[in-house]
């Protein structure tokens, strides 16, 4: 199949934050050691928390099922290492809340071998079987959203999918996780695509890659076998190109309706690392025990891409890579949408695509003074879904949340942060919107 490598296509608006990927994009993925204690939250995904199937004190093998999905919108959890379940209790999580988690103490010198489960053959399995297998493998969107992948793939009655989009854009600055995956796990990706094509019934797949990763695009398009209806297409470097809606618009010119899902325009969009995971795990019937994470930022000594066991405490991970300078801010994910953590005791979860560490030098660059909105309209020109953040920000300040939702489509905002990024008055727009949405949801519910 031919690759379309002329990256002219994109969505309208958006911003151009400095990419900052040079530090890690040439670093091969390295295996991370086990932490002395791992914390596996039962709710690392959107939806119902998983139900634990192990007891405190029970010994488990690497890859063994720790918790099973509780309902359809829920996924399984597997042991990241062979060890002992110390206890099942509340533990801090990245969002600042306490969630039910399994404390696992790996055996000293535990190996990397993983137990095998019931393999699912891409040729013979039915779509429903594959969906079940994906759920059992505990796969969620590894791009950051952590939405259970199998739910996305369940095509509702009366709808169909014609295109499968594999999202290899990775538009967040600093992060190079997907970039490395696309270079190093090509076979897994292609295998994953086979599963996904089968499940979705799509006639073709498009791998969308941002133009700053030409090596990945070239490697992938060279590897696509003739029997697979897959094209590799490049899109412009622009944030938030990696958002599902933006990528669909860039590649297909289709607009996902407000309040709708990609499936409403016959598309399903799966992150490239998620795809690789499907292709790697399903043939062996295994579950997720580790994932690739970029640990980077000016505060990190050994920046790089690491294959890191799920549940590794952040503190352990940072100690391993070494810190430099006066660290003031650590966040999980990229700098645009990532979650700043208040404590280093939180574990790395399935949805953690990167860890970025800032020192006081970076934080000092962010002006502290908040000016009133001067209606410069930078935010209006940045918003990828054409909202009016300026107006909404002013309304939010006066507490007029209903008006924001009714007249200005607040609920369509996916908090990409472009508006706050460009705001010269330093108004925390995204924070306002998040707050407003929360209050509105509370009022409704």
């Amino acid at each position: 199949m031919q690759a379309r490598l002329n990256a002219k296509r994109s969505f309208r608006h958006g911003v151009h934050p400095p990419e900052q990927k040079e530090a890690t994009n040439r670093q091969a993925i390295r295996q991370f050691p086990f932490a002395p204690v791992m914390v596996i939250p039962l709710s690392q995904h959107i939806g119902k928390p998983a139900r634990a199937v192990v007891r405190e004190g029970q010994e488990v093998l690497r890859g063994q099922l720790l918790a099973e999905p509780d309902g359809f919108v829920s996924v399984a959890m597997h042991a990241p290492a062979a060890g002992v379940v110390k206890r099942i209790a509340l533990a801090p999580y990245a969002n600042g809340k306490m969630v039910e988690s399994i404390y696992l103490q790996p055996f000293p010198g535990a190996g990397q071998e993983v137990i095998e489960g019931r393999p699912v053959d891409v040729e013979t399995a039915t779509p429903d079987e594959i969906i079940l297998a994906i759920q059992q493998a505990g796969i969620v969107g590894l791009g950051g959203a952590a939405f259970p992948t199998h739910v996305k793939l369940k095509v509702p009655e009366g709808k169909s999918i014609d295109t499968l989009i594999i999202n290899g854009v990775e538009c967040e600055p600093y992060l190079t996780t997907d970039h490395r995956v696309m270079l190093e796990q090509i076979d897994d990706i292609l295998m994953g695509i086979r599963y996904l094509l089968k499940v979705s019934g799509a006639g073709r797949a498009i791998i969308g890659i941002e133009a700053n990763k030409p090596d990945a695009a070239a490697a992938l398009s060279a590897a696509v076998p003739a029997d697979l209806p897959v094209t590799v297409e490049m899109v412009k470097v622009k944030y938030p190109q990696g958002a599902e809606k933006m990528l669909i618009t860039a590649l297909l010119g289709r607009e996902v309706p407000s309040g709708g899902l990609p499936i409403d325009v016959q598309v399903v969009c799966i992150n490239v690392a998620t795809t690789a995971e499907i292709g790697r795990l399903l043939p062996h019937g295994r579950g997720i025990q580790e994932r690739v994470i970029t640990i980077t930022g000016p505060g990190v000594k050994r920046k790089g891409n690491y294959l890191i066991p799920i549940g590794t405490p952040l503190r352990f991970a940072l100690e391993e890579v070494g810190l430099a300078g006066n660290v003031t801010r650590v966040f999980l994910g990229g700098p645009m949408m990532g979650q700043a953590v208040s404590s280093l005791d939180v574990p790395i979860a399935k949805g953690t695509s990167g860890v970025v560490v800032f020192t006081d030098e970076e934080t000092a660059q962010i002006p502290q003074k908040v000016y009133p909105c001067i209606k410069c309209a930078y935010c209006v020109d940045a918003c990828p879904i054409f909202l009016n953040p300026s107006r909404m920000g002013i309304l939010a300040k006066s507490g007029r949340y209903e008006e924001m939702a009714e007249d200005y489509h607040l609920m369509d905002c996916f908090e990409c942060g472009s508006c706050s990024y460009v705001c010269p008055s330093n108004i925390p727009l995204v924070q306002y919107f998040r707050l407003a949405k929360g209050i509105l949801r509370e009022k409704k519910g």
Partner: protein, 342 residues
């Protein structure tokens, strides 16, 4: 792990910013205005220098005092008031008595900005509010023009400049006529060369089209000014005056004259583009620009006054909220949903 601060900052995303702050924008606008002010001093001499300084100072001081009286932190540090002061000065006739300049400066800040809540809330361009007030209060002084390029202008002040406060100015020097007034009342056109290079009489800052365009281009390139506003104004004015001039050249001055005379350049580039008082969307600002242009042409051709840019901009300021309402950007995914629903 000693290097990690005891308290990590938890600010919500995004964690990086572009690093262009409001005061940066304001400061750049001041830079862009300085050459215009410089040319005004070159053209009108000491008179313009003193007048511009008093205009700027009166605005800055008023802002400072009003902020303090209201128990707020003084906001003169954000440079926005310096822009207002400088712009306000540039719209005044150079020989205007200084006490009037100071009164107008206070009005510009008090009425045009402070009453509405300060920076970001001034629904009208404050400089123009000050000028409109002066125009209504002291119509004679506001239409008496100091001649350009007078001999010895760098060493002498216009006699009216130092008028005792609250007294009527007495004009001794020969006064100039603006190209627009000459055209309207005496049907005397001015050479295009003089207009472009600013060898004419008029408000301090409106004479040199070149310096204004250069300043505007600098800001537009740095994305600190929405180029669509002046572009829409120029295009519409040129189009309308072109058509009317073609129909009746005797009555209607041509596009060149319309573009380069009076306050159109200064207004379109620096006044109409006051971010706070303009619509937000790009479609909105084009409508806004067209509205300004149409009103300006209307007032200049058919109105009683020779110049109408100021009124046109103030009117469009008042209308900009409605323009915004009319042309809200179509939110992603809403059109198709409507189609789907029907």
């Amino acid at each position: 792990m000693s290097k990690i601060n005891k308290t990590l900052e938890i600010r919500t995303s995004p964690h990086i910013v572009r690093g262009l702050s409001t005061d940066d924008i304001m400061r750049n606008v001041v830079w862009a205005l300085l050459p215009v002010a410089g040319f005004a001093v070159y053209t009108f001499g000491l008179t313009a220098l003193v007048m511009l300084s008093v205009a700027t100072l009166s605005c800055v001081l008023s802002e400072h005092i009003l902020c303090r009286l209201n128990g707020r932190e003084s906001t003169i540090g954000d440079w926005s008031i310096t822009i207002t002061g400088l712009l306000y000065g540039l719209t005044l006739p150079p020989g205007l008595p200084l006490w009037m300049v100071a009164v107008g400066g206070f009005i510009a800040v008090g009425l045009g900005k402070f009453l509405f809540g300060g920076l970001g809330y001034n629904v009208f361009n404050p400089a123009l509010v000050g000028r409109a007030f002066l125009q209504a209060a002291f119509p004679v002084a506001m239409t008496t023009w100091h001649p350009a390029f007078a001999d010895g202008r760098f060493f002498s002040l216009d006699g009216a400049t130092l008028t005792v406060p609250f007294m009527e100015p007495v004009y001794t020097a020969v006064t100039g006529a603006t190209p627009l007034a000459a055209m309207k009342f005496a049907q005397q056109p001015t050479a295009a060369y003089d207009l472009v290079f600013g060898f004419t009489s008029g408000s301090a800052g409106e004479t040199s089209a070149l310096f204004i365009l250069a300043g505007g281009a600098y800001l537009a390139v740095r994305n600190m000014l929405n180029w669509r506003i002046p572009a829409a104004i120029f295009a519409t004015v040129a189009l309308l005056s072109g058509i009317l001039h073609a129909i009746d050249p005797q009555h209607y001055a041509g596009p060149m004259f319309m573009l380069f005379s009076g306050g159109l350049m200064l207004g379109a580039v620096f006044m109409a583009t006051d971010m706070v008082a303009t619509p937000l969307t790009n479609r909105g600002v084009i409508i806004y620009g067209v509205l300004i242009a149409v009103l300006t042409v209307m007032i200049r051709y058919w109105g009683g006054l020779p110049e109408g840019v100021m009124y046109a901009i103030l009117f469009a300021n008042a209308a900009s909220r409605h323009i915004d309402r009319l042309v809200q950007p179509r939110v992603y995914g809403t059109l198709k949903q409507a189609k789907r629903g029907s």
